[in-house]
Point group: D2
Chain length 303, copies 4
């Protein structure tokens, strides 16, 4: 079927390729001029009604302004899919705005990263059943080979797709941190000779085998002691929202929050909290502290 | 090759079957009389020297006493493999005891649970290279199909196998808790209609796909709201040792420890710590508390 | 000075008493009819302009509707203080609404619980300097004896008082949980004979001495093993907001969040997350689980 | 009474002074020659039997070797007190060694840091009742003014004193981290103008008032933004043992362990675990990482 793709970055560009390879007609638009058309207006004019437009732009401002702009251009019966990492609460706003014009709205969490183009993307969609039905050819082209229900779900009404993706990412934070702690402990001076080989041996048969483990093995094969990178880990929002939602629903989330906080800490040049702890130790115990000007994270010079 | 298997429970019994299916001759012994021989003594007499005896008995006392008993029966050139979940510090003791008799010792962490018989076991071995070499036919029969290094590793000297398995299990605790928190949050009242379907859709293409996820999907297909079980989770030691070792090496382990503590808490009828918190709240705020005799975990009756 | 007090519960009632004891004229109003006047309208008519009205009602709906109602009754120059546990983001809304009428607004976090009437309350105020100045006699009457700056602070503009109180409560959660974990560990089977006596001995000279410790000692003197209460701990919002704010500012908050999650968990009859962990263990290991119908939190019956 | 003090550092030296000021006769020995006598041998000869010798030397090797040396010098009826931060499991060893000689042994946890000399020390003692009784004059001189039971406890048999002190320090870690997180959040860009003033205002009347808070206020008065120190926090063993013990007794200790792990992390130049997380993000998402050679903890250059 015919589809407009707005946003042609790492995700959108790859998805457009995968859709085309499956026989779909994709008209791409990106605000850097790299697409098939030069404007949203031209995109809408190029597509045949009823149109399907898939958004793959950054969550928040960029997505919001795109939906607003499309609201001025689309007509009843058209359908907008937000495939970006939007917060699920944005979906109700977008759906309501478009609904007043008779334009349909579906949200779809997309997982798989740069590997999705060849392996297929995991998809979690929210919206009305009829709209989901209409998009099935697109979903089927994007998702991995195999039974549909193993790579795609109609998770619930509008918002449910992004909600499922949000929780997916929260879980992902926890999984990554678990492997990361294991990697650090294996590397910390115990009897294990070759950490990369041990983690590679976890690839088959073990309880911890997973795709993330495979990626860990890949990373360690390229850089056995991770000497080429520093321990600076960004977070992209969904982990925060997951903890926020856990708090809203009084769900204990010690692992996901610990993983999130570890990322926060990884980006601090010096921790104000740990300055406070060091200051308290100095106050009651006369313990030595690091003076500013001494290198951080090295033992203090005096007592 | 010929192998004695001591311990024929869920793990040892299945492993014996897998080894036999691969053409090895396994003489099994279990202290419940279910094996091929009636005693360790008979086992040793039945095997041809130099013997290979694989222990698959509970860690701690049972393994220790078996090693001690074998020390009286074996002769120089024989080889003992501890495939149970022993603490890595036990290995040095066992190896030293046997070494005085010229008996070789290898420790081998085995992962895979009840699925290992058909899918193969992940194996992490510690010991001298020559001993590992001698055992390769056994390792190859036990491990999954595929490249040897994806399901087997010679992790280092004696103890390294169990160390790797210990960390593996610590990671496993973190992974399980991450999925569990995600499951709880998806079930907690957000817009997702069908939690099981969402987790099933994570099976392919997503970043969180894994074997544990597949098991989670399986569990939810059998019991969609986990109504048939209660949230009581045992721990079998390796998670504790992992946190202990993290502390020894000053490795932060917030995720693995959180997962361990969640299991501890799951087994408490009433938490002394939370009694203390409730008591403090009552002290300063005049907040209502649950009186003994009221049902636990329900809102207090008064203010 | 003259002051209207809206809300005469545990906090407002005690505060009114303390203010009167200090020579202030307090006109109290409560919606249960227990006050000096029968309505907000009567309260406003009773007070002499420019009026000062202190709100001590539950945060959220109750406070919002009170401010809205007062906006219809007050006149330019009057001053409203919200002394409840409102979220700091509510303050801007209230201040803006009242500002259009020339009515001043100050937010004030109040700490001290039921002890405040005799010992004085810790006060954290937000607002314009002139408004704070105007309220100093009230603040001085409410705060404890001693230097003003040890029990009162003008923390910043509108919202800063509740922000400071929010963080105060987040810290409080962490402190309480720290003592609670210590209490549980002392009680868990180590060599300590008398846990209450140990904690009492921490009252003077030690690094951990504090008012919360004094309350813990008091609670243990009344109920040495906390047999009279169950481990069910409510949370009143500020702890949640503290973690939310930590996430907004990318501040790692492992201790405060752990304390919050422990409260969440304390209120669960059965943990969905731990059901998931138990289900996973059963899946891969053939481990026994608790069947529904067995008592929760007791070892499973079988294998 | 007469007392030998072995170890005259920050703790032992101050304690000797406090004891002398209370009228006790203290003969001090330190291995740096700063004491009243030049050797343990001379110390023992100088003291009148039955002797009392208080050890205030570093836990582990130093304390162990001192006890061993004293075992060769003391005679039946003498009494050794270990007031250092020894692990409680060392006490049984020391007590047993001395008991064979008829020498008595008491362990005593001492809290209060450099402030103890003037304010008194919190004391937690373990041992036989008769030995404790014999030491009461010493305990009374060391502990703060006020009721004995608020600054001293006979916690149980040998080992109970150090056990109580261990848990005390674990709690202390949690308390410090709670204040530290609060400090960081107050400083993180919210509406609060003056963080030091807010924390000072918590000194009286609030629920979080404590001695540690007073020290925090003191530290912030000396260095309002803690610019003079870095966030490098040592740990001295008891926090680790507390978590170890929590694990032994299956006691959830999320707050104390989080505080401990925060200290571990504060001392890492770069976190291996967070390298692993960054590596995984790069693997699946094509996310930018910090290359080695770029400054750590600053946003990556590209991606």
């Amino acid at each position: 079927m015919q589809l407009g793709m707005v946003g042609l970055g790492r995700m959108g560009g790859n998805m457009a390729e995968r859709l085309r390879a499956a026989g779909h007609e994709v008209v791409g638009y990106a605000n850097d001029g790299s697409g098939d058309v030069a404007s949203l207006d031209e995109l809408v004019k190029t597509l045949t009604a009823p149109r399907t437009i898939w958004l793959m732009v950054p969550a928040g401002e960029a997505t919001n302004s795109t939906v607003t702009a499309l609201a001025d251009l689309l007509e009843a019966g058209d359908l907008v899919v937000d495939g970006g990492n939007s917060k699920f609460t944005d979906d109700a706003v977008h759906a309501e705005l478009l609904d007043t014009l008779g334009v349909r709205y579906v949200d779809c969490g997309v997982s798989g990263g740069v590997w999705g183009r060849t392996e297929g993307y995991g998809l979690m969609a929210g919206g009305d059943a009829a709209d989901i039905e209409r998009l099935l050819p697109v979903f089927d082209a994007l998702r991995p080979e195999g039974p549909r229900e193993e790579g795609f779900v109609h998770a619930g009404p509008v918002g449910a797709g992004h909600y499922a993706k949000m929780v997916h990412n929260g879980v992902e934070y926890g999984l990554m941190q678990a492997y990361a702690e294991g990697y650090e402990l294996l590397s910390a001076g115990g009897p294990v000779d070759n950490v990369g080989a041990v983690m590679k041996a976890w690839s088959r048969g073990t309880v911890v085998r997973s795709w993330l483990l495979d990626l860990m093995v890949r990373a360690l094969e390229a850089d056995p002691h991770l000497d080429q990178i520093t321990g600076y880990a960004e977070d992209s929002g969904e982990g925060r929202w997951t903890v926020d939602e856990a708090i809203v629903h009084a769900v204990p989330a010690p692992v996901i929050s610990a993983a999130l906080f570890a990322r926060f800490a990884s980006r601090q040049v010096d921790s104000p909290a740990m300055k406070a702890v060091a200051a308290l130790r100095a106050q009651f115990g006369g313990h030595a502290t690091h003076k500013a000007g001494e290198a951080a994270n090295e033992p203090p010079t005096g007592g």
